[in-house]
């Protein structure tokens, strides 16, 4: 099913993979998969509203891997948000910069994937799941393997700061593997920054294992330049009685595709997904989430909200699978959208696939405008139109931002959102 151009992209990326690199099995099986499957074709159901392959063809001229940028500690410092306290991991076009990072190593161990050669790599994010996982498997040069040992609570949050820039090549592959063992707890913050406005394609894979009775929070901000094309695959395995919470705020980019999968592998576990997309210009953000309930007595909650202005486009596809064994499952999903302009588009598909009978599953989905009566109420009390709208939209988005588990990061994101709501809308 692969088209010629599609193959051209693949060929040029694959030709740059250094031979004799480690993980040859993973890379080989991924190559075989991609050879057969190719990058998503135009009418493919999973990429129906997000023709990412076409976007890559049209926007990226040089499929070489981006070289590291020149970075110093001041540049890094300027991109860390205010009042941040905790460990900092800096990535320069996907490569880990040890010297620029601040690592206390307190409560966790950190190593390069190439050194540690973890067994787990490629086991959580399966090759067949998405062509871009396979592509990352083949093309990633190195990444970080972070492990939180048993019974350990990491007190301070860990910030993963991705500094990206087109540099003699426009393709960036980042890879993260997080293994949280039993009875542990940790909070991650992730921020991606574009160093300039040049177009690049970032294809990232994050694999997370949440061990028994552990708690992991993953807070992610996507606020890169208006010209970036991003594909993000985050896959998590959640074990017995563990809780995993993801908060994802997407504010910018040219085309952004996020695949978030929660595999609830045992009973008593809980998966939470919160998402906010606040879009303007021509930004296109596509969130595909997938919750797989495999065992009884597990729970999942999902809330995604979108505000779309100008000619932006928001796509939401939430899948909930409840397998035959997963009796007594509770699964909730909600997607709310507000359209602010004539040219904005929303495509949403909340999908339930239920194979067990003793379950409580529901989903809700709305698309509309701001409540006229609420607006009138505020205006009758002397607020200007813009101010009233800003206030209501902030309240709408606040429900998601409330779930960000680090206060400084929350303030940082709230600030950006408030500025946007005050000026742009």
């Amino acid at each position: 099913m692969t088209t010629t151009t599609n193959n051209n992209i693949l060929d040029s990326i694959l030709s740059q993979v250094p031979s004799g690199s480690s993980f040859s099995d993973l890379r080989e099986s991924s190559s075989n998969f991609l050879e057969k499957k190719g990058l998503p074709a135009i009418k493919e159901e999973e990429y129906k509203f997000t023709s990412i392959t076409k976007k890559l063809e049209n926007s990226i001229s040089d499929f070489s891997f981006a070289k590291k940028s020149d970075l110093n500690s001041e540049t890094v410092e300027s991109h860390v948000f205010d009042a941040f306290e905790g460990d900092l991991l800096v990535f320069n076009n996907g490569s880990f910069e040890k010297d620029l990072s601040k690592i206390s190593n307190h409560g966790y161990t950190l190593s390069l994937i190439s050194d540690a050669k973890p067994e787990l790599l490629g086991k959580i994010a399966k090759t067949e799941k998405d062509p871009f996982v396979a592509l990352n498997n083949i093309a990633f040069e190195d990444g970080v393997y972070l492990k939180v040992p048993k019974n350990q609570k990491v007190e301070k949050p860990i910030l993963l700061l991705f500094l990206n820039q087109s540099n003699e090549g426009q393709v960036i592959h980042s890879r993260i593997l997080i293994e949280v063992e039993d009875n542990a707890a940790v909070t991650f913050l992730e921020d991606s920054v574009s160093l300039d406005d040049k177009t690049y394609f970032s294809n990232m894979v994050t694999e997370i294992k949440v061990g028994q009775n552990s708690q992991v929070h993953y807070n992610r901000l996507q606020n890169e330049s208006k010209n970036t094309i991003t594909v993000n695959n985050t896959e998590t395995d959640i074990h017995r009685d563990a809780v995993f919470t993801s908060v994802l705020v997407s504010l910018s980019g040219d085309m952004v595709r996020n695949n978030l999968s929660l595999n609830l592998l045992d009973s008593g576990c809980e998966g939470n997904m919160y998402g906010l997309y606040l879009l303007n210009g021509k930004t296109h953000v596509d969130n595909h989430t997938n919750v797989d309930h495999t065992k009884p007595h597990a729970q999942s909650n999902e809330l995604y909200k979108g505000v779309l202005a100008d000619s932006s486009r928001g796509v939401f596809n939430g899948k909930i699978f409840v397998r035959q064994d997963a009796q007594k499952t509770n699964a909730f999903q909600q997607n709310n959208n507000i359209l602010l302009s004539e040219d904005a588009i929303v495509n949403t598909k909340p999908q339930l696939e239920i194979w067990a009978d003793d379950v409580k599953c529901s989903h809700g989905c709305t698309t509309g405008q701001l409540d006229e009566e609420a607006l009138f109420y505020l205006r009758a009390r002397g607020l200007g139109k813009e101010q009233a709208r800003g206030m209501l939209l902030y309240a709408f988005t606040g429900e998601v931002m409330d779930h960000i588990s680090d206060e400084a990061f929350q303030n940082h994101i709230v600030n950006i959102v408030q500025n946007r709501l005050g000026s742009n809308f």
Binding site: Q324, L339, V346, T348, D357, K360, S362, C365, T367, G368
Partner: protein, 481 residues
């Protein structure tokens, strides 16, 4: 639980009540599908040249298409060359009154509980009974014709009202629409045609009963309903089919055209043979139903109760083109044993201030799979469009599945679109409450299911609601998970 299982066992093992077959000498086309067969059908039906050309055009287009695979249903590949595309009861002279109708035929209807005479006298329904492919009796035609209403078989309409057929045929469901619609265009045998003139309110429910009779016959009906300005019609369609071992294909097309201020209400009770309890046999039901609210303030309402078919693939849709037009879809889909249903609707909002409402209730039991697949699309110029969708699933037994695939595509900021769905089983506390008050488990389930489906059943005309309730009870009572 063992008692519940026993009840479940008893009910699911109940044989299909309408499963029998009557020998009728059929006037059949040779098995297979090619241009010659289409010419044969067309000649047989003494069709005008333009219709033959239209069929051939559809056939040639169909040859370029491939079978759709996106639906959430699984079945062995259908050998379309192994089917017979035309079969009619051997009665060349058209009956003038019911007395002239083959007594064997009348007997079939009697066993189905729809005595034509009875219905004619007591219920005031004009029944256009379709047995296999040719309609055999049309009642109340005279009463209707006084009002200018045309209600006849499709082939009759082709001969008597070619201008209407020519104008509207394929205008809502184009021959290029999908694989089975194209196939239907090429080989359709007969069906119903209905035209309500300007300003006329049809005084009775128009009804068609379909039956499949001859073995190995794919049935390809075509229904065309045209409601002219300011008119109103309520149309009923019901199906039962005799038991068969071989899978039968049913690929109908229904087109509805509603002009300015017109209202069409289309109700279906579908009870094709669903296969036996091991999943053997049963009808494949691949139907394309679509209506267009072409004029301002027009309204189309679909109500369906689906209990039959081994595989159902059906999405009655509304194109809301006129300003202030309304589309409605009410559905109860019940699947049991190995049945599979992939059904839902499409609401395409094109005009301004258009409204649509979707209420879908799925019930799955046994090892069946029940999917809701719907699309709500608000086009760029459809300001103030409003949609509310509710799709609920009820699961009985731990071997069945319920799936929801709603697509919501909004391109206008003034649209208000809401969708909600729930999946659950009958609560143990609800059953306990009923048991406590002396209501047996079986009755309690019937009570709860009826309450669950009530919102949809209420939309059916009285005569149908009774039948629908019976069907629900027959398929499901006692199926406690």
């Amino acid at each position: 639980m063992s008692k519940d299982n026993k009840i479940l066992e008893e009910l699911t093992s109940k044989d299909y009540e309408h499963g029998w077959s009557v020998n009728l000498e059929a006037d059949e086309a040779p098995i297979g599908l090619n241009e010659g067969i289409i010419r044969w059908i067309s000649t047989k039906k003494e069709e005008p040249e333009w219709l033959l050309e239209w069929r051939l055009k559809a056939f040639n287009y169909w040859l370029t298409m491939s079978e759709p695979v996106w639906a959430n249903v699984h079945y062995p590949k259908i050998d379309l060359q192994g089917l017979r595309y035309y079969s009619a009861p051997k009665k060349s002279n058209k009956p003038k009154s019911l007395d002239e109708i083959d007594p064997e035929l009348l007997q079939i209807y009697e066993r189905l509980g729809i005595n034509l005479n009875e219905q004619k006298r007591l219920q005031g329904i004009a029944v256009d009974a379709v047995l296999d492919s040719v309609s055999v009796g049309t009642t109340f035609k005279e009463t209707l014709s006084k009002l200018g209403i045309i209600f006849c078989s499709f082939s009759e309409a082709v001969h008597e009202h070619p201008e209407l057929v020519k104008k509207y045929l394929g205008s809502v469901v184009p021959m290029t629409d999908n694989y089975y619609a194209a196939l239907n265009c090429a080989v359709f045998s007969d069906g119903s045609f209905c035209y309500i003139p300007t300003g006329v309110r049809c005084p009775m429910e128009l009804s068609t009963y379909f039956r499949i009779n001859a073995a190995n016959t794919g049935q390809f009906e075509r229904t065309l309903i045209i409601a002219d300005e300011g008119s109103y019609v309520s149309y009923l369609e019901g199906c039962t089919a005799p038991q068969r071992d071989e899978n039968q294909l049913h690929a109908a097309v229904v087109e509805i055209y509603a002009a300015k201020n017109a209202e069409v209400k289309y109700s279906t009770v579908q009870n094709w043979y669903p296969g036996d309890k091991s999943g053997k046999g049963g009808i494949y039901n691949f139907v394309t139903k679509r209506g267009i609210c072409a004029g301002d303030h027009s309204k189309i309402s679909w109500t369906q109760v689906e209990t039959g078919s081994a595989v159902t693939w059906k999405y009655p849709s509304c194109i809301l083109k006129g300003d202030y037009s309304i589309g409605e879809f009410y559905s109860v889909a019940v699947t049991n044993n190995y049945q599979q249903a992939d059904t839902g609707t499409k609401m395409i909002h094109i005009g301004k201030n258009t409204r649509s409402r979707i209420v879908s209730k799925g019930i799955s039991a046994g090892r069946s799979q029940n999917s809701y697949r719907g699309q709500v699309q608000v086009m760029k110029r459809a300001s103030n469009a409003r949609n509310f969708s509710q799709c609920d699933s009820l699961l009985m037994g731990d071997r069945c599945g319920a799936h929801t695939f709603p697509y919501i595509d909004i391109q206008n900021p003034t649209a208000k679109v809401e969708h909600e769905a729930t999946t659950s089983k009958i609560g143990e506390d609800q059953l306990f409450y009923c048991n406590q008050r002396g209501i047996s488990t079986e009755d309690a389930v019937a009570l709860i299911v009826n309450g669950y489906a009530k919102e949809v059943l209420n939309q059916l005309p009285m005569e149908f609601a009774v039948e629908a309730q019976k069907l629900l009870a027959l398929t499901l009572e006692g199926s406690v998970g």
